[in-house]
């Protein structure tokens, strides 16, 4: 049996960082990835595809899409013909969900995981986020504050490359940014009006992990906005383009693909974990690999699944579950308040290229404006002039009608809100001992619903969106409160929440299991609250921080 200093499970956003940080600190690391190997560039098979190369010119679903993706097919067109090979097949890797609205668990089983298809928004958590649970009593207090993670945000941002703009806001902390992408005229107009008419509301460019200044081995963003196909320019951050090459360069990394982590095996004397059992996805053979420390970065629910499945005499309810809270307090973000408007100004202008990020209205609910609900939301927005893409929704037929498709339409402004979900005990994942996957491991069961507070956020966001459009002189074409299915933000988190008290939480302030200190859980599972910010930057920062702790304590 091979033996390493550290085993990292999962190669996505968090696992890539763990591999980089640990190997650069001189540790021998085995990176266990359940999916197939992916080579940067070579395996971005649709990156250069023309529409006419695709099934039905790329329009609509691929053949057997619904069958293949099952519940996840609700994610069309976010998951589409150009990127579906980077998403997990529901037929071969099913899960159970007991929700009024089914929970969409969109996974990426390949080297690099979902870092290949992520939304790339990099927004720091603030002290008001780390304080929130303590302040209003939902969930438990985070054991860390902004000062604990701030240096790690610095480190991550500098390495991955984030473009954006500093705004000097406590609740939306500044960072180390490359020059921002440009706003177009409508967006600038909207910013000017909103910031003038609504004191304290800030409209800014998205903080996105797309380069505007090149980095070694990676060139600047070409504004194709095809990120989810993979980018051979390496212009957006992914494990494949950035952290894994850095880890490989040390000579300390061994990558094992097609290896499905099944359980951690505990030494009955010490109570610490001694090895990982995984299943060779090709042969079905069970194998064991030893290490001194273990990093679970398999994505929130899969990391929890491994822990729940790591039952032993010492840990009959799963490893790290002495509090009974393993799998509980799962969260996602709630997305909704979709609003579309048109503007009949700036007709003599158009934009060029496809900017890979939205503009943002930073959270004002319960930051600068009091509301009758808890927590907050922010908006992602953007404007462009669309032509043929809107033609099908317009009346008319014949030659004049089709000619209109090559003329620029009015500026269309779109908004959507992203809100915080409260951490609640009843939202949880468990193992179903009666349903097994193709590897013979119990299937994960997800129980999740939005709280009334979550829904109130979106109701308010929809109302405020319409008001802001009117204030800016736009005409609302459509606006609805309607939320996406739970999980559709693809920001699932929680299940192994961080806290100081082992009787209430699963990991401590260093992301170590209270019950087995040589196991670190550094992906979304550790989150004690969700804030409304996109969470990946925080996962990366927490991972880098935990790696230093692991390396330092190993050297001790």
């Amino acid at each position: 049996m091979s033996e390493f200093d550290v085993i990292v499970v999962g190669s996505g956003i968090s696992g890539g960082w763990a591999a980089k940080e640990l190997t650069e600190r001189g540790l021998k690391v085995a990176l266990i990835e359940r999916g197939r190997n992916i080579e940067h560039g070579k395996d971005y098979i649709t990156e250069w595809s023309n529409p006419w190369d695709m099934h039905n010119n790329g329009i609509g679903k691929s053949k057997d899409f619904d069958k293949k993706f099952g519940l996840i097919s609700k994610m069309y067109p976010t998951i589409n013909q150009y990127n579906e090979h980077f998403f997990c097949n529901f037929e071969t890797d099913p899960y159970l969900t007991e929700c009024e609205d089914p929970f969409i668990w969109a996974r990426g089983y390949q080297l690099g995981g979902r870092s290949l298809v992520w939304g790339r928004q990099c927004i720091r958590f603030s002290d008001s986020n780390f304080d929130a649970n303590k302040k209003d009593g939902f969930g438990i207090d985070w054991p860390i504050r902004y000062k604990d993670i701030s240096p790690w945000y610095d480190k991550v941002e500098k390495f991955i490359g984030v473009s954006g703009s500093n705004e000097g806001l406590e609740y939306w902390p500044d960072g180390h940014y490359q020059p921002p992408f440009e706003m177009n005229s409508i967006e600038k107009h909207f910013k000017e009006v909103i910031e003038r008419e609504y004191k304290g509301r800030i409209v800014t460019i998205g903080r996105t992990a797309n380069l505007t200044v090149k980095k070694k081995g990676r060139s600047t963003c070409n504004s194709r906005s095809h990120c989810s196909r993979g980018c051979s320019f390496g212009a957006y951050f992914s494990s494949i383009s950035s952290t894994l090459p850095a880890a490989r360069k040390t000579g300390n990394l061994e990558t094992i693909c097609d290896a499905v982590a099944e359980k951690l095996i505990v030494d009955s004397k010490s109570g610490q974990v001694k090895s990982l059992q995984y299943i060779d996805a090709k042969s079905g053979e069970r194998k064991e690999v030893k290490a001194k420390k273990f990093f679970l970065c398999a994505s929130a629910f899969n990391s929890v699944k491994i822990l729940l499945n790591s039952k032993s005499e010492l840990n009959p309810n799963g490893l790290g579950n002495s509090s009974g809270n393993l799998g509980r307090y799962i969260m996602d973000h709630i997305e909704g308040a979709y609003t579309i408007a048109s503007f009949s100004i700036f007709k003599e202008e158009i934009d060029q290229g496809k900017r890979p990020c939205p503009i943002i209205i930073t959270p004002f609910a319960n930051t600068t404006e009091s509301k009758e609900f808890y927590r907050s939301y922010y908006y992602q927005c953007g404007a462009d002039r669309i032509a043929w893409a809107a033609l099908g929704a317009k009346p008319g037929i014949g030659r004049n009608y089709s000619v209109a498709g090559v003329e620029a339409g009015p500026w269309i402004f779109r908004m959507k809100a992203v809100g915080e979900c409260l951490p609640r005990k009843e939202n949880r994942v468990t193992l179903d001992e009666n349903s097994f996957d193709r590897f013979g491991t119990p299937q994960l069961k997800i129980e999740f619903s939005y709280s009334n507070n979550d829904l109130k956020l979106m109701e308010d966001a929809q109302k405020e969106a319409v008001n802001m459009i009117f204030a800016a002189g736009g005409r609302v074409i459509k606006s609805s409160v309607k939320n996406g299915n739970p999980g559709s933000a693809i920001h699932e988190m929680g299940g192994a929440r961080m806290g100081n008290d082992p009787s209430e939480s699963v990991v401590n302030m260093w992301n170590q299991l209270h019950d087995a200190k040589n196991v670190y859980v550094t992906d979304g599972a550790c989150m004690a609250s969700s804030a409304c910010q996109n969470p990946s930057l925080t996962y990366m920062a927490l991972t880098a921080r935990a790696c230093k702790h692991a390396a330092d304590t190993m050297l001790d």
């Binding site: 010119n57 329009i59 069309y76 976010t78 070409n222 158009i350 290229g353 032509a387 099908g392 030659r399």
Partner: protein, 181 residues
């Protein structure tokens, strides 16, 4: 034609229909509808007919089948000739009526029947397939695969060629759940 109405139930029409084969679609009818919506569509987007057929077959078999039966029957009642054998002006007049009815109902926020839903879907498909066809993308639009940089403000003058818009570009996708419903 001011409005479009169906005088017989779909099932009754299906039973009595000589115009539509029960088990498969009539390609001539599909082509006639598509070329009426976008004249010349098959010169540039030759796959449209089979693509409409694929959608018909794989996604919406019952609704789409009834749509073609209903449309053909209503047309026959009015003109005593099949849709595909009629003159271009008859086709245009007839489809314009359906189009106006569908969009009036949509704009008024009224619920629309499966017939109109199917019509709007076919029309949308024609538009999408036409404007993503190799000819249109390369000739009527500017196909710049690597723009290099995003520029927020450039002059727009009438009749200038526009850049090809990728409906799956990330920025649009932010709103996908809404736009594609």
């Amino acid at each position: 034609m001011v409005g479009f109405s169906l005088k017989s139930s779909a099932i009754e029409l299906q039973k009595n229909s000589d115009y539509i084969r029960k088990d498969k679609i009539d390609f001539d009818l599909v082509e006639a509808i598509c070329t009426t919506i976008i004249p010349g569509i098959f010169e540039h987007a030759e796959k449209v007919s089979s693509q409409v057929y694929q959608h018909y077959k794989s996604n919406y078999f019952t609704e789409w089948k009834l749509f073609f039966i209903q449309l053909q029957s209503a047309f026959m009642e009015e003109y005593q000739v099949s849709f595909q054998e009629s003159s271009q002006s008859q086709k245009t007049y007839f489809l314009s009526g359906i189009d106006a009815d569908a969009f009036n109902k949509l704009y008024e926020g009224n619920p629309i029947s499966e017939f109109f839903v199917t019509y709007v879907a076919i029309k949308g498909l024609c538009v999408d397939l036409y404007f993503t066809s190799e000819y249109v993308v390369n000739n009527l639009l500017v196909y710049n695969r690597v723009p290099g940089k995003y520029i927020g403000k450039t002059p727009y003058v009438e009749n200038m060629k526009l850049y090809y818009e990728d409906p799956f570009a990330s920025r649009s996708m932010i709103f996908a759940g809404h736009l594609y419903e």
